[in-house]
Each structure stands twice: as C-alpha cells, then as structure tokens.
Amino acid sequence: MNRQAMADELDRRVEVLLAGTDPAGVEPEPLLAVASELGMLPAPKFKNRLKDELMEPYRAFAPAGASSEWAGASTLAGMVPLFSGKRAGLFPADHRSFLVSFVSHAALIALIASGIFVVRIPTIKPSGLTSELTYPLAGHGGGGSGDHSAVQATRGMPPKFSDQQLAPPVIVVRNPEPKLSIDATVLGPPAVKLPQSSHIGDLISSNIVMPSNGTGVGGAAGEGSGNGLGRGNGSGYGSGFDRGTGGGPFSRAGIIAPRAIYDPEPEYSDEARRVKHQGVVVLALVVDPQGKARDIRVARSLGMGLDEKAIEAVRKWRFTPGTKDGTPVPVQVNIEVNFRLY
C-alpha cells in the first residue's frame, strides 16, 4: 500500500472514530489509539487564556511581558486625573501641581537638551551576552538628606548650586527666626542654573501635599544622607554621590574618568534565571590608580544572587585609571549591571 492509500485508509477510520461509531471491543491500531487520546486535549487557546485570567490581578505593577505592561499602563492611564479635572475620582486633580510639574519638567528637558545638565553615558553591550553595562561619567553627582520623617520630601525646586554650602536646603524650617539668614544651596557647578522657586523641595517626589524634609538623614531634605537634596548621598542634588547633580559620582574639573579595558560578563545566578528575575544592580566602587576596582558596595540591590554575581564580575575588571593633570588618582564611579534574559 502506498503512502497516499495509507493516508486515505487512516482518514476513513479516523472519521469513524470521530463519529463515535467505532465497534466496541476491537483493539484499535496504535495510530488510532493515539488519535482517540487527542480528542480530550484542551482547546488550543485555553492554556494561555487561563494563564492570562490568573495573572490579570498581578499584571498592572508586575514586570511581566510587554502585552501585560501595556494593559497595566492603559488601566492606570484610565485612573489618573487629567489637567481638565476629568477622571478625578481616585486621585483628585490639583491644577497647581500640574503647573509646577509641567514647568519643572520643561526646565529639566531644556537643560538636558542644551547639553549643560548631562553628558553622554557610554554603554558597553558585550556581544551575545546577557547583560549590559553603563558608566556614569563626568558631570554627575548628587546628594540627599532628610530628618527621619515618615513621608518623602515635599516636591519642589532645588536651591541654587554653589561652590560652597553655608546652609543646607530644608523644607520644614525648625528655626523660623534665625539671627543670621543665609540662603540654602547645594554643592555643584554654579554655572548650572535651575529655575528657582520659593518652594524648595525634591523635583521628583510624589509628595505634593505634606511639608516634609524626607526620610533620609543629615538634617537637610531628601531620602539619602548628607547635606544635599534628593535620594543620594552628599551635598549636591539627585541620586548620586558627593556633590553636583544627575546621579552617579561627581567629576571635578580636570579629572579624566576611568574606562574599562577588560570587562568580563557577569553570570546569571541559577535562582534568578529559573524565575526570570531581571533588573539592574548598581555597584558603587573606587577605581584605584592601578586600574583595579576596590571598595565595591551594592548601591542598588536586585537580590536572588545577582548582586553577588555582579560584584564577582566587576572585581575582575581592569580600568585605565582616572587621572588628574596626567597623574592617576582614585575615582569613585557607579557601574550599572543590567541583567536581562533574552
């Protein structure tokens, strides 16, 4: 019997099977035995439909697939109020907040576009591997503080940048009648002009209502530590260290930042790979004059063994050291280790 004849004969018997008229008690041939089991498989889309149904409540804020992110975003978009005041049921619209937010963001965008505020961050993407690494370089920095308040620092504008800081920025003034009044400043390049407002605060805080110096330590305002403003550590503004603004280490004039010359890829931990855990580990470290990483600490943790994997890899890295006037000097840098599964 040729293949077509076999296929025809099999189909004739399949038709009998599907019609449910197969003679009882007769042992079916192996192919028909398989065919009879196929009849109870679930409908093709059932498995995915049920999965979507189960995961629906956890999608809006979970790092899931692209479609669920869009679903969550559109749900949220339907909840937040518009400037016109429509859809104000869940989050009441405050026109002043919109105005302050709009002006602040416009100013930031203008600064970024002008090239004064930030510099290009080079990105290294090792070919075919699972993580990408970025180095914040010159022009960055940050600061942070707070007075252990229960809520975030109030949203507002940071004070002027200055080479010297005589008074740190505070939002809730504990001494309303000082004998000597001094304007608050944050340490940073005075050439960088931010729009000024009488409402000192953190530009990106979600707290627009309650006056607060923030949850950090240091006596000024923010979520970090030091005498600055923001989520970092130091006397500048933002999420970085030391002084300046924009996140990352501050680069003083005349210092050339270190560059990685040997950067082996970090491995994925088994635990994180199994549950497809992804994200960014931020390591703060010092590149010493010999071009080695030392004093490595985790500035932003990802957990599930990825912090350790990031440290393990970066410890092997070698850099051209940062230099000042041609002499190698230790320089603090942040390294973002981006763990992604492809």
Partner: protein, 176 residues
C-alpha cells in the same frame, strides 16, 4: 514510564511565587498539562475538563501562601486540590467521589503522564502537522474544511494527518 522532563527545583519557584504572585505563571506552565490530564481522564467533556482545571489553578493561586515546602513535589499538592475539586463536582452531579481513589490505585498516574506528554508532543509538532491535528481532533473539522483553510489538497492534508500521528506514536513509544 519515564516521567516528563521537569524543572528539578520546585521549591525555589514556589518561594518566588509566594513572594511575588506574578511568578506563579512559571509554576502554571510547568504543571498545567499534568493537572489538565488528571482532570480530563475523569471529565465527561473537554468543556467540563477545562472548567474544573481552571478551578484548580484559581484555588491553588488563592491558597499558595499556605503551601509549606516539605519535600513533596508541587504537583502532588495540585493533585490534592484537583481531587477535591473533582469530588465536589461529582457530588454535585450525583456521582460517588469514592471512585476517585479506586481510579487512582488502578495505575492512574501512568495515564496522566502519557496524556500530559501527548499535549507537549503536539505542541512540538511541525506547524502544518500541529494545525491539522488541532483542526481534526480537537475542533473536529472535516478534511475538506482543513484543506480549504490551509490552501492544500485533501490528499495533502490526509498525508499530514498520517505523518503527525506517526510522529506522535513514535515519540510516545520512545519515551514510554
């Protein structure tokens, strides 16, 4: 019978799902075919099997926090929920839930593994063969309908059907 290839470490997945429910999707993917097979061999129709399977996973997700790792596989916990769901359903329709335990003792696990494996093997078929199998045996459509949909001759569809069933039988036989 050789069991389906499974991820060896349930515990880590369970703990991840208990911390963050969106990770339950991984446990679902790993266990869906066996839970469905467990239910389907006792259900009267595909629709009933699907409804009861959905109930099992909803209950599992709702009570995941109460799961305590004691070394037994996660699927055993899911089978327990599935047995309760089936017993409740059978009581509702007037059947004796005692049949469940008798059935389990009569080699039920082997058949569940075989059915779960069959579902995975269908997924792994070449796209044309998979389409023919789904249209013919799950949607119960005629050869003519399938031929029209795929723009092929009826003879070609019958050949695809033959090849697909031969592939499934061969792989089921090899893995038995």
């Amino acid at each position: 019978m050789k069991a389906l290839e499974r991820e060896p470490d349930d515990r880590m997945l369970i703990e991840a799902a208990q911390r963050e429910r969106s990770h339950f999707a991984e446990l679902y993917e790993q266990n869906f075919d066996r839970v469905y097979a467990f239910i389907a061999r006792r259900a009267a129709s595909r629709e009933e099997a699907q409804d009861l399977t959905a109930e099992v996973f909803h209950q599992a997700l709702a009570s995941l926090q109460s799961f305590k790792w004691q070394g037994t596989p996660f699927i055993a916990w899911l089978y327990g929920i599935a047995a309760n769901v089936l017993a409740t359903h059978w009581r509702r329709i007037g059947r004796d839930p005692e049949e469940l335990s008798e059935d389990w003792e009569q080699g039920g696990t082997d058949e569940i593994e075989r059915r779960a494996m069959l579902a995975e093997l269908v997924e792994a078929l070449l796209p044309d063969q998979r389409t023919v199998i789904i249209r013919r045996f799950i949607e119960q459509r005629s050869i003519r309908d399938v031929a029209q949909e795929l723009g092929r001759s009826e003879g070609a569809i019958k050949q695809l059907q033959l090849r697909a069933l031969e592939n499934l039988r061969e792989k089921l036989g090899v893995t038995l």
